[in-house]
Symmetry: C2
Subunit: 322 residues, 2 copies
């Protein structure tokens, strides 16, 4: 039986899985993404996560037939490098991630764009299975999208899917990318945390950072946002409302352009906040949808938190077949 | 030699051509789109335009091997009907346009979406020839887009390409479609005229309507806007600036999502205002482009005013081959 590893490299967490040929998860490990250091520190943490997932699957990393990586930033599948992964520490330049992991662990490593592989996983194994055209929207530290048209991923010149940087408010809020009025400027968890810290500095009250400290975190994770919402924290509610408004406008704009059959919502916040918030986004899209007599369903990612890592394993399997 | 007719049904004008098998234009006629009445009146004007173009090509309409139509609204190619063509008079419902034209003129009639056929024309015969992925943006009474990916039109569930209804300003100006903050709310010539009339009612000055009256028109055509700009009309400049800002944000958003190789700019205003304004839009896109190290070229439609009609003739030829 062939075992493969898939690893999803996010701005907040590193999620590794080891799967069998039917993509059943035999081992998994989740580690926080290093917030300091540089690409090699991230690669070390990734290798550790894969080792640990392999151990749970009762295998050695060297026994894996291949390893797939879903990465943010500009991914070059040919050379195995990742460039300008802005949500990762010290990763403005280019780093040979595939080589570093292969040197460390042994098996061949293939790298794809994080949202593209997560969307492929939902299309092939998850909520997107019934549809031949699909937009996968990943709402986390950043906001990204994967596009499937006629059953195949559409990646453009390798940089398609930047739904987080569609403009929903000309002259609007500053985005972590440096531009203004992007979806991510309102809906990215990174931007939401920055905004929350600003509001606290201005004297506004919130329990967000108390919950963070109590849970021993340094960042406002999706779980912390979810807890604050449950406790009716006003600032959390307001920032999530703003995020939903921007996200809904961006998704509706993408649907107006592409007219896909369905949209799958994933990502840390998407999965953690779950169905009530999925419903709110679906409602908030309606006023912006041009063909509003047949809105595409907005579906929660079925593979949940593991979709990115399972999609990376799909990519590894695709590499094996080449 | 087979002759075909193609007709582009716009909110302001009806443009008919008769072409040979190499798509050389042998006859053409342009008529204003009726502003009163209903779909049958529009169909009558279309038949008249085709008759006149055929006469110029020294042919009878009955001798044409087929007729293609590029139409706004929801087009059903199977049944030959057009529904909710909101920029046309009395066309909220459904009308059997193919049947009406075929009854009147004789040859088989095939209908496609106006911007889809115009984009196909630019892709096959015009500025888009070197590229396999392309966004065709048509800036006229409304703002629409055609999408070509991997050399083939992408039409989604038949309603793709609504770039004019992508949201660029949440809570922004009211669009002729009834929604808020759409690209077309700022950049559609229809919305621009509505806004100009409002400003005049509020006491602001402009030469736009004087030029209109002098030229015996009832609407602010692209030529009138161009003339007012040449004369440094302040209101015209301000409204065109606003249009460029919205159009650039919308096109950049579409590029961020799709990462196409090139964008072709056509439509009445796009063609009439020409290169200086194309350059301004290209510049205004830059601050919003995510992959700004390699912006796709923004090219003027090479087939100019006739692209839609020639694209409709391409559609007719495609129908003949079925």
């Amino acid at each position: 039986m062939k075992l493969r590893a898939g690893i999803d490299l996010g701005g907040t967490k590193i999620q590794a899985v080891v799967v069998d040929e039917q993509y059943a998860v035999l081992g998994q490990q989740r580690l926080p993404t290093p917030t300091k250091g540089g690409p090699q520190d991230v690669a070390d943490a990734m290798a550790e996560a894969i080792r640990s997932a392999a151990t749970e699957a009762e295998a050695e990393p060297a026994e894996l037939s291949s390893i797939g990586v879903g990465s943010p930033g500009d991914v070059d599948d040919e050379t195995g490098t990742v460039t300008s992964a802005r949500n990762l520490p010290g990763w403005e330049g280019s780093f040979g991630l595939a080589g570093a992991l292969q040197d460390e662990l042994g098996p061949a490593v293939r790298i794809g764009n994080d949202v593209t592989v997560a969307t492929a996983a939902e299309a092939e194994l998850g909520a997107g299975q019934p549809y031949s055209s699909l937009l996968g929207v990943f709402w986390g530290t950043g906001v990204g999208a994967g596009i499937v048209l006629d059953g195949k991923p559409w990646t453009g010149r390798d940089a398609a899917g930047e739904i987080g940087h569609m403009v929903v408010k000309i002259g609007g809020a500053k985005c972590p990318c440096g531009r203004h009025g992007c979806v991510e400027a309102y809906a990215g968890r990174g931007a939401m945390e920055t905004r929350a810290r600003e509001l606290v500095r201005k004297g506004e009250e919130t329990n967000l950072f108390k919950i963070m400290e109590k849970r021993g975190r340094e960042r406002l994770t999706s779980g912390i946002w979810a807890r604050a919402l449950v406790r009716h924290d006003r600032m959390a509610q307001r920032l999530v409302d703003r995020a939903i408004e921007a996200l809904a406008a961006g998704i509706a704009s993408a649907v107006n352009l592409l007219d896909v059959e369905a949209v799958v919502l994933g990502g840390g916040l998407g999965v953690r906040l779950g169905d009530p918030y999925r419903q709110r986004i679906e409602q908030a899209m309606l006023p912006h949808l041009f063909a509003d007599d047949r809105p595409p369903p907005l579906l929660l990612a079925q593979l949940g938190d593991l979709g990115g890592a399972i999609g990376a394993a799909l990519l590894a399997a695709d590499g094996d077949r080449r």
